[in-house]
């Protein structure tokens, strides 16, 4: 009887925590929504999303420059990261010896675990001056604190993250699938091209999507090198001001200006919604990875 009782107590408390975790997501979403809602009383949704005028003191809250900055810096980073990730993970999963793969994985895990402020710090030291020099060489005036610097730092940050997932995905494809091409006399690369990549396509897309989500919400590393000027950038050498940086830089002083906090909350809400959609996509892509019926 006592054993049964314990079991039931354990069951009930497990349920409780389970419900808490599920409620947490809802709570965060609703909390942000509730806090962001007042902004729509003075600013229309289209103005909020597509107006470029950002004058908190005059109650003008156009998030457009920040949204464009976020998208631009993320896309730029992914553009640079994707080829590197694809080739590096194919090498690790398909060509490397087990020893080399294991060591590389360790290194990549370490890279993925380095805190983002450290990436930002190294970015200030290396990438910002580098961009300035490149800009000068090309005859563009730039301080180096720019969209390009943000994209580069972000690319370096997400590369290990994407590689770690991609290698997992590639290793999950059973060896015999490769054998069926190799046994026909296909080269290793042909096997990768016609069999492995096709089998892994969904999982690799998921890895990239997760990387995109990670980059989209990354705050500190980008904030430190991107320049933070509230204006939609027109070239990659212009400074930019992504949404996470906007929130991080201004949250301390919001209380003094009415509706400012609501504007920042709507920025957070946009971030969360976009990232949640991406996570959702990746979740379904990865959860169907097991079946090979295609």
């Amino acid at each position: 009887m006592k054993r049964r009782f314990k079991d039931i107590v354990a069951f009930a408390s497990g349920r409780l925590f389970l419900i808490f975790v599920n409620a947490l997501a809802l709570l965060i979403f609703c909390g942000l929504l509730l806090k962001a809602a007042p902004i729509l009383q003075t600013v229309s949704l289209t103005d909020l999303l597509f107006s470029s005028v950002w004058h908190p003191m005059k109650h003008q809250f156009g998030l457009f420059p920040f949204i464009v900055s976020t998208l631009a810096v993320t896309l730029l980073a992914m553009l640079m990261a994707i080829p590197v990730c694809l080739f590096a993970s194919i090498y690790l999963a398909e060509y490397a010896s087990r020893r080399f793969r294991e060591v590389s994985r360790l290194i990549i895990d370490i890279l993925a675990g380095i805190p983002s402020v450290i990436y930002g710090l190294c970015g200030i030291l290396v990438i910002v001056p580098f961009v300035a020099v490149v800009g000068e060489y090309l005859g563009v005036s730039t301080t180096g604190y720019s969209l390009l610097a943000g994209g580069l730092v972000l690319a370096v940050m997400v590369i290990p993250f994407i590689i770690a997932i991609s290698v997992e995905v590639l290793r999950m494809i059973p060896g015999p699938f490769r054998e069926s091409a190799l046994a026909l006399g296909a080269t290793k690369w042909e096997t990768v091209k016609y069999v492995v990549l096709k089998k892994a396509a969904k999982g690799l897309v998921a890895a990239v999507v997760l990387g995109f989500a990670r980059a989209f919400g990354e705050t500190m590393a980008v904030l430190m090198v991107v320049g933070n000027v509230a204006q939609a950038p027109s070239s990659i050498f212009d400074p930019a001001y992504p949404l996470p940086a906007l929130i991080a830089n201004n949250y301390g002083e919001v209380m003094s200006i009415p509706l400012y906090d609501a504007a920042l909350m709507s920025a957070a809400l946009i971030l969360m919604t976009v990232v949640a959609l991406f996570s959702l996509t990746a979740h379904y892509a990865l959860s169907r990875l097991g079946d090979h019926n295609d």
Binding site: R3, R4, D7, A10, F11, S13, G14, R15, F17, L18, F20, V21, N22, L24, I28, L32, P83, V84, F87, A88, Y91, Y95, S104, L106, I107, D109, I110, L111, G113, I114, P115, V117, I118, Y119, G120, L121, C122, I124, L125, V126, V156, I163, T187, W189, E190, A213, R214, G217, T219, M220, M224, I247, Y251, G252, M272, V275, A276, S279, L280, H283
Partner: protein, 282 residues
């Protein structure tokens, strides 16, 4: 034939190049942090709190940030563990229908991906609502939220890898679900559970965006849960933003200390996983 070989070699070259870039990045980061960080590393950096004029290049150290980070992460780890472990265990199919389990895993994935700045903003809203200032408690709560999905997902993976036959053996002896969980599942999944905890600690200790407005920053070591608290990532961030070169150099020292802590955590995780996997039934 020649064309096929050529294609293979071309792509192999691209692969080597990509991998080389990745390793170069790591080597670069570690070297930079090491060289720049060592130049102003000293005992007083580690064991002293900032003295007057520290931020203008004066005496003192960042003991406040080191201790603060440890406090924050210790508190958050305990809280997150208390919540995550039961959730991971409750996700077993004996306890939970497939639908609810699937939904929970989806929710965990979404929480896992949620940017830390969003946790920070949400945490701040909650703190305002509770009437809390930026404080150790606030930082711990937000870090807990950030760490829960990381821990739970890793633990869930480990728990799911326990072969059902193993549990069946226990059930066949007439144990309850709870006893089976304690005697078989937890034991078998232990390395995975450890990895989960350590993964989360690594993420938690390095995160700056979530504690930016919830933990605050101070030169003192906090005396109660309601005092504001400094932290290593924010020490890096704030010091790198000052115009004084000595202080900027100290940002690298703070980064070095943070990096060493993260690396040690990483290595301990691996050693633990290796040490504890000896008693595992495969």
């Amino acid at each position: 034939m020649n064309r096929r070989k050529l294609e293979e070699n071309f792509f192999k070259f691209l692969m080597a190049l990509s991998l080389g870039l990745v390793f170069l990045a790591l080597a670069g980061i570690i070297l930079i942090v090491l060289i720049k960080g060592l130049s102003s590393l000293s005992w007083s950096m580690i064991f002293e709190t900032p003295k007057g004029g520290y931020y203008l290049g004066g005496e003192g150290g960042i003991a406040n940030a080191i201790v603060g980070s440890l406090y924050l992460v210790a508190g958050a780890t305990v809280l997150a563990l208390i919540i995550s472990l039961p959730v991971a265990l409750a996700l077993q199919k004996e306890y939970l229908g497939k639908r609810f389990a699937d939904i929970t895993r989806l929710v965990l994935d979404i929480l896992w991906g949620t940017p830390s700045i969003v946790y920070g903003a949400f945490g701040f809203v909650v703190m305002v609502w509770l009437g809390l200032r930026a404080s150790l408690l606030g930082g711990i709560i937000v870090l807990t939220l950030l760490m829960i999905p990381i821990m739970t997902r890793a633990m869930d993976e480990a728990v799911r890898l326990v072969p059902y036959e193993l549990k069946e053996m226990a059930y066949a002896m007439g144990t309850t679900r709870f006893e089976t969980t304690l005697a078989v599942v937890l034991r078998q999944a232990f390395p995975g559970v450890c990895t989960g905890v350590i993964l989360a600690v690594g993420r938690g200790i390095g995160d700056a965006a979530s504690i930016l407005f919830t933990a605050g920053y101070t030169d003192e070591i906090p005396r109660s849960l309601f005092d504001p608290v400094a932290s290593l990532p924010l020490a890096v961030f704030f010091q790198s933003g000052t115009p004084v070169p000595e202080v900027q150099a100290r940002a690298f020292t703070a980064a070095l200390i943070l990096l060493v802590i993260v690396l040690v955590i990483n290595i301990v995780a691996r050693l633990l996983g290796w040490r504890f996997s000896k008693n595992i039934v495969r």
